[in-house]
Symmetry: C3
Subunit: 466 residues, 3 copies
Amino acid sequence: MEKIGEKVSKKTVKKRWPSYVWFPFIVACITIPLGFYLVNWSKQGVGAGLYSHQWVPDAIFAYWSPKEFYQSVDSVQGVFEGEQCITCHQGLAPGIVNDWKNSKHANPAEGKKTVYCNDCHGSDHQNLHMPTPDICATCHQQQHAQFMDEKRFGFPSHALAMERALDAGHFVDKPKAEVTACVQCHSVATKCDSCHSRHEFSAAEARRPEACITCHSGPPHPDDESYFASAHGKIYLAEGDTWDWSKPLKKGNYKVPTCAYCHMDNGKHQVANKSIWKFGIKQINPQTSSNEIKRNQWVNRCSECHEPNWSRQQLKTLDTERKLAWDKLNKAELLLRLLRSDKLLFPAAGNRPSYPNSYFDKIFPRERIGFFDGQASAFYNVSKIERDYFEMWYFDNLSAYKGAAHGDFMRVNISHLALDQKLIELQEQAIQIRRLSEQEKQANISPETDDFFNSGDYTDFNRENN
Amino acid sequence: MEKIGEKVSKKTVKKRWPSYVWFPFIVACITIPLGFYLVNWSKQGVGAGLYSHQWVPDAIFAYWSPKEFYQSVDSVQGVFEGEQCITCHQGLAPGIVNDWKNSKHANPAEGKKTVYCNDCHGSDHQNLHMPTPDICATCHQQQHAQFMDEKRFGFPSHALAMERALDAGHFVDKPKAEVTACVQCHSVATKCDSCHSRHEFSAAEARRPEACITCHSGPPHPDDESYFASAHGKIYLAEGDTWDWSKPLKKGNYKVPTCAYCHMDNGKHQVANKSIWKFGIKQINPQTSSNEIKRNQWVNRCSECHEPNWSRQQLKTLDTERKLAWDKLNKAELLLRLLRSDKLLFPAAGNRPSYPNSYFDKIFPRERIGFFDGQASAFYNVSKIERDYFEMWYFDNLSAYKGAAHGDFMRVNISHLALDQKLIELQEQAIQIRRLSEQEKQANISPETDDFFNSGDYTDFNRENN
Amino acid sequence: MEKIGEKVSKKTVKKRWPSYVWFPFIVACITIPLGFYLVNWSKQGVGAGLYSHQWVPDAIFAYWSPKEFYQSVDSVQGVFEGEQCITCHQGLAPGIVNDWKNSKHANPAEGKKTVYCNDCHGSDHQNLHMPTPDICATCHQQQHAQFMDEKRFGFPSHALAMERALDAGHFVDKPKAEVTACVQCHSVATKCDSCHSRHEFSAAEARRPEACITCHSGPPHPDDESYFASAHGKIYLAEGDTWDWSKPLKKGNYKVPTCAYCHMDNGKHQVANKSIWKFGIKQINPQTSSNEIKRNQWVNRCSECHEPNWSRQQLKTLDTERKLAWDKLNKAELLLRLLRSDKLLFPAAGNRPSYPNSYFDKIFPRERIGFFDGQASAFYNVSKIERDYFEMWYFDNLSAYKGAAHGDFMRVNISHLALDQKLIELQEQAIQIRRLSEQEKQANISPETDDFFNSGDYTDFNRENN
């Protein structure tokens, strides 16, 4: 018996894996493929991204994410190439043919061949396609590789712009008209003519700030206004038209820097390796060791024209501005958290629809206070004081940041005036909320709960066509 | 007796018209001429338009509506012509003489005669005039006829801009300083140098967006900002200075379109025949059969450079945006209407001055909620919640519209964020109004009526100098 | 006795000064030197200006007020001159050397000598300096004298910009990040490259509006937006790039005026002698005899292109606009004063920190209502209604003014819409404050005083690093 027992136990030792080994292993064998399958399935809907089953793309998306959505128009039959395309389209749309004629594609360097319409769009007129970055990469490998390299720095990033948008929960939540507006700029990831406009695809054009600011504008990222308001921008505005934009973005070639000069080292198609504060959306320690490396890159770039000491001080000025802005934002956030803990926020988290597609939010509804508590969903269905804080954080804070980063000091002042004003406004609201509630308590009135936020059109119109 | 009776009745039948014929006829004979007489009388005051007896023009109006108000300055005596004018004014104001020297007027095509100062201003120096469109029409008949043709499309319209302003009730209501500002742009109807600036009167100049945006700017019609923020605008900004603006506005002549390229078919001086949404002020069905004709015109124009399918989708994107904006506006309007029916708007319609010159409003005072309930008068003397809705409708809504119409998608996003924010703000105000009133009811307090809106300076300064 | 008496009295008359003579004299002998000593002492701190003991300059200040703060960087040893400097810096910072090569300094008129780096920065590389206006004045005496002449017109003034900022109490009160932003523009007094950007120092550049609007922009002085929105500005934007900017700012040389054309008579470096309304900050009588002189100067300048009558009417239009704006502001101010006299402003003056460094404010705390009651300090620690009035006065009012002054009539309209909106908003707040207080009185509730404004971080962060 013992022998058998020994044998068995030996065998067991040898052959049986303990349960803490095989159980997780089996679970992993099931869940990992299942996860892959589910993610894959969730992306197979008529829309795109993780919520592809929950929305239908607008026809216009075909032009912004062509790989996902473009379908050739069934017009002319036949296979055409080279000058054949030109001959016909010269009459149909002479403007874009003129652009092509001015391009390097039509006037290639010696020894290189002309790039015709069909090289990018295909030849079978029943089956044309819109050029995606990998089609451009057939010739422009280096630039494409640099562009894709941005992905390793995480979001925000040009290369990740489309997929992150399509995978976001609020992409489904937002009304289609707004999503369409988002996707237009996020298409920078899926087509090269966001910067090199068709059909000239000029490098010279993309070196000018106008190439960037079609998207980099508006309250959450006033890169255009802050640059043009700076001394750099003013000189560009007055004299830029006389400069030779065919020169590469190198030291000494331009009187003042443009967007691309500072953000793309010597024209490198990757703008993420110098990003310290990202979009100013979160509070960040600007002096971590990895940020010190980025700061040195900045100082080197600035020092192509300025004293290195001056350059370093400019970055410090930005640090000081950021600290001040976050002092104000944290102060405001505290006001809201105190209201929340006193149960004075109305509508409370439970009184409004949960963040779409978030099971976590369905089980544990949260007030939406600032970035970590709500992000994009903070746009909708919230009380005025939460919304006002969102505006303070998303508009005034980011405006101040861009002003400080681009040397638009007027903007720094104005935006901090706005932060102060919002802080006073929030404080006044908090006081009013407390006074009104105190009176209601004394008078034994309980205010009617209102369905405005929780159901009905306001919520519905956000989703009706998605 | 019978005979006589018969005779009489026969006579009556033959000769007397029944009262339902002659009575209205006589009334019409009196009222129609009386109406003409009254309208004529009402336009004979020292001001202009239907309320001409109720206001006095500022001296500066002489330059904006010269036919109505300009009087020659009594300076130099004598009759002067051609080079005589030039000789003297060369020394007095060399800048404008230089402009003339660069003009086609000074350098006419072969066989045409030079157009001198006196051809437009007159020769008798005691009796000079400012050139009005019909003076320009002496030579430029076709352009003038096209311009006047806009009238048949109704207002808004360049050709009707001045008369509609001068006939508007709130022209009298508004403070003079504001009316002056209005009239400056509305003078587009009464002088051609709004677009072709004096004294070069260049067609090339008027083809550039700057010619239009002196007026087409500001929150209610940010045509400038929305165009310049679009891909079209960015390319214009970066490269427009190098283009040949002497070319007509025809297919293939310009890399990107400008205002005039899209809105004036091949340079035709009439911009109303493609207007679908008008100014975005009212909710409109964009797919009536007459709008389908306009949509086709648009698609044709866009298709000079873009795929027709793309062009059609852009218009659909605009439809979607408009629907969403009006969903939000209607939601806000409902909030106000509910407050009104619960008698919670303060000041109520009866607590403030009636809309000026409106007898209807004197008898049936109305709250001013949105376009149909109040229009321009909504600017003054209203409660905060009515005013806030006005701002939502007049600024954020129109901004969203212009963004969608001109391809400025950032603006679409920002403006819809603002619409959402205003909706939350209005809802919060409605809640506060109800809570406060409920408490007052329970405590038997009736809030003091306040004379701030109904009398005193606020109302008076609107009218004092008019 | 009489004789002696007479003698004595005579003696007294002759030899003893009465106490009302010698007492003030002695007091003056003590206090005047003491005053000088104290002011001198107060300026000797590590900061600058009257409160120099209470703050520490940021390193970046070295570049903005170099005389006060710049210290040479201890890098290279040796004494260098002329081409030696160029040789080395050509490699280090080719951009700025290129600028110099394009300058008149590098290409002097015949008979004049080249101006090298060391002429402005010094030769000893261990002891370099930043060029201050008096260094530029070595050659450019006339321009410097004109510039300094502005001082006699009082503040606002370019020449006084830095010292008035550094002597202001709120310079100490404001967070460093904001002060830094202020000082950047105020450095116009302490370095000439605010307008003539380094190292080309071109007169042509400074004639263009871009030279001015790096500072003259933003809500409190939208000179840029109001000029560019005017007919003058639009023509400049469309055609300015083709003009010959080497021409002096004289009659007939430019198609439309720029900032410098109107504000600097024939290029004279003094812009204060035509200033009627100053910054629009105070209500001013525009028709005093001294203002009549200024008005004539304006009319003369405008009449270089326009009818003198037209020019005069434009100024009158500005008068009308100003009167209307102040009617609205005074109306708003009255609302606040009534709340104050009813003790309904919260926090009341005593509930918040006194204006920094003001002993008067410590003893007699004041509510901060408009310009005379508070000025800059109104930015912080005030109730919402006071703050909102500040915004109305500082942003909307000044925007209206700039619109009227520069011919941007759209801005006049929009800004007056904003003034109306704020007036309604303030009225609503006043009503709410009164209703809520009335209820609390009836219910015997006294609202908690809140420490938010009086102590803690909000106040502290304004001062922590100063």
